[in-house]
């Protein structure tokens, strides 16, 4: 069952078409990654799906509810962990959670149990009674995540969940996200700039640029779509070109020789490599160098969004906000 369905979702700001007739589905229980350069329409899409913005055109349903007509029902079914740190510094972690419980109409008795549960999930139970101003950036982000989970949302929206965090905290946040999906079956819709994050976490990825979805699929499918694995090898015998012989071997899609290096496109790199070497040995040849190159999501991303730097109209407010967030997370 699709838990998020969008049909021709469009948002126009003045002359700028921020999101241009976007249609996609997110299945229940999956982690869906939304990637794209700054100004591509990621945040606008998230804002529409979380009812912060009304679409200019098109419709979307979250957990079966229309985001415009049943906005308040949608709000009670989703959780949003925003890019900004919005936990209150003057309150303790526990007080922040209680405030969140009030905002989401979680009854006090139930709230206490759940707060304990989500705070132990993000490992903040021991510091729950400390003021948030004494928390590190990573701890604040984890508290933010706990707040998003408090009312057991069906869909959790994560906007750049690891922006500006150190490697350890990032790894921990990844673990939480995986746990949420595996143990609690929560559908997660996340945006990110880090390709390795999308690769490690997401079941499916959409790459959006200039308001349109450029590619959508499993990370592996996307990587395969731009050419799959490549084996580069050098043979000890330079005198002859063996590329035609290599091209006939199993798994091989295409083989070319460029000076002494053979560039071999294969279908399953790890399985193909030993087989190819075996076959080469059978031809009484020796392999002097070999490497297996797997396409990264970075390459996929650049393939679909282009390499040119974005000269989108600068937004002072946006830039300030990003700087402020990074600063606050790192303090």
């Amino acid at each position: 069952m699709s838990i998020i369905e969008t049909k021709g979702l469009t948002k126009v700001f003045g002359k700028l078409i921020a999101v241009d007739h976007v249609s996609f589905n997110v299945e229940e229980g999956e982690i869906f990654g939304f990637l794209g350069p700054n100004g591509a329409g990621k945040t606008t899409t998230i804002n529409m799906l979380t009812t912060l913005l009304k679409p200019t055109e098109g419709t979307a349903k979250v957990a079966g509810m229309d985001i415009v007509k049943d906005a308040n029902k949608v709000r009670s079914l989703i959780g949003l962990v925003p890019q900004d740190l919005t936990v209150d510094e003057d309150l303790t972690g526990m007080e922040n959670m209680l405030l969140q419980a009030t905002l989401y109409n979680v009854p006090k008795e139930v709230a206490k149990k759940r707060i304990e549960e989500v705070l132990s999930l993000v490992e903040l139970k021991d510091v729950a009674n400390r003021k948030v101003e004494t928390y590190s950036g990573g701890m604040r982000k984890r508290l933010e995540l706990a707040e998003g989970l408090l009312h057991y949302p069906k869909v959790l929206f994560l906007d750049e969940p690891t922006l500006g965090l150190d490697v350890q905290t990032r790894a921990v946040i990844w673990d939480y996200i995986k746990k949420l999906k595996e143990e609690h079956g929560i559908t997660i819709f996340m945006t990110t700039h880090y390709m390795e994050e999308a690769d490690a976490l997401c079941d499916r990825i959409a790459i959006i640029d200039y308001g349109k979805i450029r590619a959508l699929g499993k990370p592996k499918e996307l990587k395969d779509s731009i050419g799959g694995d490549v084996i580069e090898l050098v043979l000890s015998d330079y005198s002859k070109d063996f590329s035609e012989d290599i091209a006939k071997m199993p798994y091989v899609i295409d083989a070319k020789r460029k000076s002494e290096t053979y560039r071999i496109k294969v279908s399953k790199g790890e399985e193909a490599l030993p087989k190819i070497i075996e076959n080469i040995l059978k031809m009484n040849l020796k392999v002097s160098k070999v490497s297996l190159i797997k396409p990264t999501l970075d390459q996929v991303y650049l393939e679909y969004t282009g390499r040119s730097l974005r000269e989108i109209e600068g937004n002072r407010e946006e830039v300030m906000r990003m700087m402020r967030n990074i600063r606050r997370v790192r303090q």
């Binding site: 804002n47 900004d84 209150d88 989401y104």
Partner: protein
């Protein structure tokens, strides 16, 4: 910080700018006159002042009563500021994705501003009393309740007004500009600091639509009552009516605007 400003105003305006002092007669002149004439002159002057200052006979008491309303104006002004900052820090979004009515966000903001305003007004009231605000012996709890009900209504209306203005404003710079534009006219085109009778007609017209004039006058009516002057029911009723209308209209406008316009920026 917020409390320092009105205290300075109290000191500068109330004490240094003593309007009643302007119409006093030099003592050496008074000494040459026979006592029965000086008594008569004193009577005449007191009546003149009393008629200008709507019954109150010294300027400090007059303006201190108005100052309470000005304190409410100052605190209300900043209530809009918190909306702008919540928006900047992303906290507003957190409220907006929560399944709560948009109007309740505005009501909460207004309530916090009203509580802060009344608290500060109470402080200024106490300080003004220490500085020489003249309250008669007949002052009772009802007068106090009356004064603070008036201030409550004023605060409700003004906070709603300022929050309604900032609902669509994105930057604090723009907000400051709007607030400053409104602040001075609201304060000076009212009877808070100066008696309305000595103003030109066009200004009087503005003063008469300014809610601050009504709350100031209301407070003065209660202070007068403490000097064993009979409670001027028609004056108090009129003031209350205007203030209730003002508070109701603007808080409704605030809630309606919030339902419509409170959105991510």
């Amino acid at each position: 910080m917020m409390i320092i400003q009105p205290v300075i105003w109290l000191g500068l305006f109330g004490k240094a700018f003593n309007l009643t002092g302007l119409v006093s007669i030099p003592p050496q002149l008074l000494n040459q006159l026979p006592p029965y004439i000086t008594i008569q002159i004193a009577e005449i002057f007191n009546q003149m002042i009393s008629s200008i200052f709507s019954g109150i006979t010294d300027y400090f008491t007059y303006m201190a009563a108005g100052m309470l309303s000005v304190v409410i104006l100052f605190t209300s002004m900043f209530s809009g500021m918190s909306v702008v900052w919540d928006r900047r820090f992303g906290f507003l979004n957190k409220l907006l994705v929560a399944p709560i009515a948009r109007g309740s966000i505005v009501i909460a903001k207004v309530t916090s501003s009203v509580i802060r305003g009344l608290f500060q007004a109470a402080l200024v009231f106490a300080i003004a009393f220490a500085f020489g605000l003249k309250i008669g012996d007949a002052f009772n709890v009802l007068d106090l309740i009356g004064i603070f009900t008036g201030l409550f209504l004023l605060s409700l209306g003004l906070s709603s007004l300022f929050i309604a203005l900032t609902i669509r404003i994105r930057s604090w710079e723009a907000h400051m500009a709007v607030v400053n534009l409104l602040n001075l006219p609201l304060m000076f085109a009212s009877s808070a600091l100066f008696p309305i009778n000595i103003m030109p007609d066009w200004l009087q017209a503005i003063v008469k639509v300014n809610p601050i004039s009504y709350s100031s006058d209301l407070i003065r009516a209660f202070i007068l009552h403490s000097h064993s002057v009979g409670l001027d029911i028609s004056r108090i009723t009129l003031n209350f009516e205007v203030l209730i209308a003002f508070a109701t209209i603007f808080s409704l406008i605030g809630i309606v605007l919030a339902e419509r316009g409170l959105r991510k920026g």
